[in-house]
């Protein structure tokens, strides 16, 4: 009785399976691309931007009837994995994408905390990976299989120092930064070095720091004002930017205040108000005043999801298009994953002057792009306006 029940159950299940597999038998060959994004956790907005950009990209491919490689059209499938904004989860997700889902290449993870360990996995398994947003040098360092679409912190420091010198002709600069946070600290150090290379030792007259979540900067700002600095560089996030700029003006600072791509959030102007008008910062792309393909991307994204995409969305878009370009350059998809991955990696490394919406890109031997930064001016209407393009 019992056994017959069990047998019956198995038989039923077998029939059901065969029936289902018969219906869903695979059609043409597909290209699988993995997306490793922080859909939950600390920075879900970043994950959302990634996902939206990726879905838009897939729509385009599908509308064209697939991705054309060497005269043959392939369906593209995106495998989106959530890394919960955790390092261990990102390695798990990458391992799963590579060994279980057998993707051709991976886009993501976004922040360096996940991209550094995940890059190790991708490199070990010889799978091309493009991290759109990570700025930690370790992500791509000595890893031939890992690339990134964003420029590095050092680069931005150099560009900003050069822009200020060329634009205003100043020789004395002050820096105010968060010593406990990875990104501002790295950028502040690089800025100081390149400024002193331009204007001699001691030309950074004030190099002041604070720690994350400080809200009162009057001590540091008073020092900066008394030091005789002509320009203030502060590579901080939007919430601190508002406080720093407002307090500086209250204390009588009149010179320009320059920032980095961390200013590029819609919140900056909301919190800072008219105090921030007239300030400059360097970033990946500018939404207002964009032209050509960049404008087209922004408009489509805005129409579809209801808000202007930030740099994560734009960089993800570029990363996916870089991959697309690489796959097409490859010429053919053999179906042998090891071979195809090698081919895509080589094609990625050989891409020259790729016209991305965040600038033209060429990868150097470390897999970091050489591209131009955009200098944005916050206009008197509180909009981020394209001011000029700054190349190293």
């Amino acid at each position: 009785m019992r056994k017959s029940h069990l047998l019956l159950l198995i038989a039923l299940l077998l029939i059901a399976t065969v029936a289902i597999t018969a219906c869903g038998s695979s059609g043409p060959q597909t290209i699988k691309i993995g997306i490793n994004a922080p859909l939950t956790g600390d920075i879900p907005k970043v994950g959302e931007g990634t996902k939206f950009a990726a879905e838009m990209w897939l729509d385009d491919i599908n509308k064209a009837g697939g991705l054309e490689v060497g005269g043959k059209k392939y369906q593209v499938e995106l495998v989106i994995e959530d890394n919960e904004s955790k390092a261990d989860s990102a390695t798990k997700a990458n391992t799963k994408l590579i060994t279980q889902d057998e993707v051709l290449a991976i886009v993501g993870p976004q922040s360096s905390k996940q991209a550094v360990p995940a890059g190790e996995v991708a490199n070990n398994y010889k799978t091309p990976m493009v991290s759109p947003w990570s700025t930690n040098p370790n992500t791509t360092l000595n890893r031939p299989w890992v690339f990134r679409a964003a420029f590095l912190d050092p680069f931005q420091g150099v560009v900003d120092a050069k822009f200020i010198s060329d634009e205003f002709g100043f020789t004395k600069a002050a820096v105010l930064y968060d010593v406990a946070s990875d990104y501002p600290k790295g950028l502040a150090d690089v800025f100081k070095k390149s400024w002193e290379d331009l204007h001699g030792a001691g030309s950074v007259v004030a190099f002041e720091s604070f720690t994350t979540k400080d809200t009162d900067f009057s001590a540091q700002l008073t020092k900066i004002i008394n030091s005789g600095a002509e320009v203030l560089f502060t590579p901080q996030y939007y919430n601190e930017v508002a406080l720093i700029v407002q307090q500086a003006h209250e204390l009588g600072w009149t010179g320009p205040i320059i920032g980095s791509d961390s200013w590029g959030s819609a919140e900056t102007v909301k919190l800072c108000g008219s105090d921030c008008y007239g300030s400059f910062f360097s970033t990946h792309y500018a939404a207002a005043g964009a032209t050509g393909a960049t404008k087209e991307f922004i408009d489509r994204y805005n129409a579809k999801y209801g808000y202007v995409p930030d740099d994560v969305g734009a960089l993800t878009w570029d990363s996916l298009n870089l991959l697309k370009q690489a796959i097409q350059d490859c010429g053919s998809i053999t179906g042998d994953l090891g071979k195809d991955r090698q081919c895509v990696r080589d094609a990625l490394a050989n891409i020259k002057n790729f016209p991305g919406i965040t600038g033209d890109m060429t990868f150097d031997e470390q897999g970091d792009p050489t591209k131009c930064a955009v200098i944005v001016k916050i206009s008197d209407a509180g909009e981020f306006e394209f001011y000029k393009s700054a190349c190293p």
């Binding site: 019992r2 077998l14 289902i20 859909l39 939950t40 261990d88 799963k96 360990p117 406990a180 790295g186």
Partner: protein, 429 residues
């Protein structure tokens, strides 16, 4: 597991009980043999079978990962799990009941160590073969084993001693950084520590020492929490220990020589499955002996009533200090293993999110219980892998599950159960 039985479920329950009855006499030896055979079977015929069932490839983690993405595959996954795991294990358990019991009894004539080692070798062989199928499975297995160690070490304080300590991420960080600093500085050409001091295969001897060093650093750090715990209990200790976690995090953020907020990477790849398995087994064995010793009973006494325990000659200060240092030591070892599996650590990994994770595993599995920690860590890890495709809903389902467990089993799934090795490996009839 159901608490009440009504007229409808009673016959089903009775039938289940009669079905299960012969299996209660199966010795652990037979179960493990069954599992090993299932793992070998999967190695041999898993791929063709999965292909035949339309699954494409061998389902990792019992198909939990794919069924949410492709619900159409559920019948195939069930058939696969039945054919590869449940039927062979059940069959072998039934067929070898007599033999297994006899062998188990025979083994127990020798010192218990012999029998234990035989069981562990079987368990290891099963895990190794099972993990060989796919690297993702291997990684999940290693991280799950490490979770078991970390959960168990937290259970010493939160379960056995009954304090609510939030300092575990801090201990993990100390252990992870302590062990990594040794291995990276000695064995890797790194831009933080300069060129490698040693070359060649010294890893197998240095790695255990670096893990132990990480554990010792964590144990010394734990005194910062242990000493205030003489005077504070409950919420206040929770706040102090939480502060400790933040102190460690910002301390490491400001330590330039281990990379500061950028983190420390390129640890050598030494935490493979056998290494992790051995460390976790040793950890579980030591912790289990600890909590069953006089010291362990003293912990329980402190939990139940500190003043009464003091009156009954328990040195409560010493007990607390030893418990904290012991727990922190194993957390540090777990952290060191974790760092060498990921081969990258940074301070922000060891924040509130990590704390929530380890606390959830402890309270999900069960307080005051080694079984509970194993069930909690394995269950939580599998669940978290299985529900990953649900994205944000995962973080609704898991907390709801936790709430349900807190309502129906306030101390966790398998709480207050002794982990008696002799009972596990003994013949069942």
């Amino acid at each position: 597991m159901a608490v009440k039985t009504d007229s409808f479920t009673a016959p089903t329950k009775r039938r289940l009980a009669t079905f299960w009855q012969p299996y209660t006499r199966v010795a652990m030896l037979s179960w493990l043999t069954g599992a090993l055979v299932a793992a070998i079977l999967e190695q041999l015929v898993g791929r063709p079978l999965a292909f035949m069932l339309g699954l494409g490839k061998v389902p990792v983690l019992f198909g939990l990962v794919i069924i949410l993405k492709a619900p159409l595959l559920i019948p195939g996954v069930i058939v696969y799990v039945l054919l590869i795991y449940i039927l062979p294990i059940g069959l072998i358990a039934r067929l070898t009941t007599k033999l297994g019991n006899k062998l188990a009894a025979e083994l127990l004539r020798y010192p218990m160590l012999v029998s234990t080692v035989v069981h562990l070798v079987l368990l290891y062989a099963t895990l190794q073969i099972w993990g060989n199928i796919n690297d993702y499975r291997n990684l999940v297995l290693r991280l799950t084993l490490i979770s078991v160690l970390i959960t168990l070490s937290l259970n010493v304080i939160n379960g056995y001693m009954g304090e609510f300590s939030c300092s575990h991420p801090g201990f993990l960080a100390l252990g992870a950084y302590g062990a990594s600093a040794v291995t990276v500085s000695l064995f890797v050409n790194d831009n933080l520590f300069g060129p490698a001091v040693f070359t060649g295969n010294w890893g197998w001897i240095i790695f255990p020492f670096s893990l132990i060093l990480g554990g010792i650093i964590a144990a010394i750090g734990s005194l910062v929490v242990a000493i205030p715990s003489f005077r504070t209990r409950g919420d206040y200790l929770a706040i102090i220990s939480l502060a400790f976690t933040f102190i460690i995090k910002s301390f490491i953020e400001n330590l330039e020589f281990v990379g500061g907020p950028r983190g420390l990477s390129s640890q050598p790849d030494w935490a493979n499955l056998p290494t992790v398995f051995i460390w976790v087994v040793v950890g579980v064995w030591v912790i289990n002996n600890f909590v069953r010793s006089t010291m362990g009973k003293a912990l329980n006494a402190v939990r139940d009533d500190e003043i009464a325990a003091d009156a009954m000659t328990v040195n409560t200060r010493r007990t607390k200090m030893v418990a904290f240092m012991f727990s922190a030591f194993w957390a540090g070892v777990g952290g060191g293993l974790f760092a060498h599996v990921l081969r990258y650590v940074n301070p922000s990994t060891f924040g509130i999110q990590k704390l929530a994770e380890v606390l959830a595993m402890v309270y999900f599995g069960g307080l005051n219980s080694v079984y509970g920690s194993i069930v909690g860590a394995v269950g939580f890890n599998l669940l978290s892998e299985a529900l990953r495709p649900l994205e944000i809903f995962k973080w609704i389902i898991i907390p709801v599950l936790l709430i349900l467990i807190m309502i129906f089993r306030p101390t966790g799934l398998v709480a207050f159960k002794e982990f008696d090795v002799h009972q596990i490996i003994a013949p069942k009839e």
